[in-house]
């Protein structure tokens, strides 16, 4: 069971309080009704499933109930960092080169 740092509760909490919610930073187009089939396919169906660093959405469903974002290593399972929903992808990751 992992420990996950909830950016709203400001502490690490046990994984069973959380639920994964898929890939992060896929914004719903504001003009969604008029986008092309190809754009809709890209938005809704296509996911990278990267080996290595992934950007994910998690929900502290049995805690503060907030959705937030996480950077995680899909090989080691380790969380690199978490940040609030709506915040941009972090430019620099902790532990990354100077």
């Amino acid at each position: 069971m992992l420990l996950i740092h909830c950016p709203y509760c400001e502490e690490e909490r046990p994984e069973i309080e959380f639920r994964n919610a898929g890939e992060a930073h896929i914004a719903r187009p504001s003009d969604i009704a008029s986008i092309s089939d190809a754009d809709f396919e890209k938005f809704f169906f296509i996911r990278d499933n990267t080996k290595g660093l992934v950007y994910e959405r998690w929900r502290h469903v049995h805690g503060c109930a907030r959705f937030f974002n996480a950077v995680r290593d899909s090989v080691s399972d380790k969380f690199v960092m978490t940040y609030k929903a709506g915040e941009p992808k972090p430019k620099k990751l902790p532990g990354a080169g100077k």
Binding site: M1, Y8, C9, E10, E11, R13, P14, I16, E17, H62, G63, C64, A65, R66
Partner: protein
Amino acid sequence: MAKAAVKKPASAPATALVECRPALAGREASGSNVKVSVLPPAERISLRAPEASVAALSRALGVTLPQKPKTSASKNGRTVLWLGPDEWFVIDEAGGNPLDDCTNAKALHSAVGVSHRNVAFAVSGAGAQATVSAGCPQDLSLDAFPVGACSRTVLGKSEILLYRPAADAFRVECWRSFSDYVFTFLTEAARDAAA
């Protein structure tokens, strides 16, 4: 069970022509160093509001809404638990009506009455922490979860609200239909709380 001492909650209107039947009313169980009891009905609201409304709502409720994660505030029989950055849980055990109080606040907010949604348990005694730790994965030591701390979390396979009114006491709340499970779980755990 202190039947006589309990004030009638506001949701039990004087006009009620039928019986109020709270779940598990009066049930309790003991381990060698812990007691688990079902608490009497209380008034409860789920309060949601942006930061800008906090002051007005605090005035309306007569309790300052806590803004630090995992903290609570309590005054005159009314306890406000921080559950999320824009979410509080208000428990009134003094016969007040927090829902009405919020209606008077003009600031932007959402107040929803959930008095009957939850059932509350008191877990008290030297074995209280061990009892809750049988099913709750959080660190409940006094350093990590001090008196006054509160959190939504899990107990076994049920979601609960956990609040620590005293060093050796917890208040556990769950949804009504989970109350049988949670009470049974706490009862079982209490048997092992001496370890």
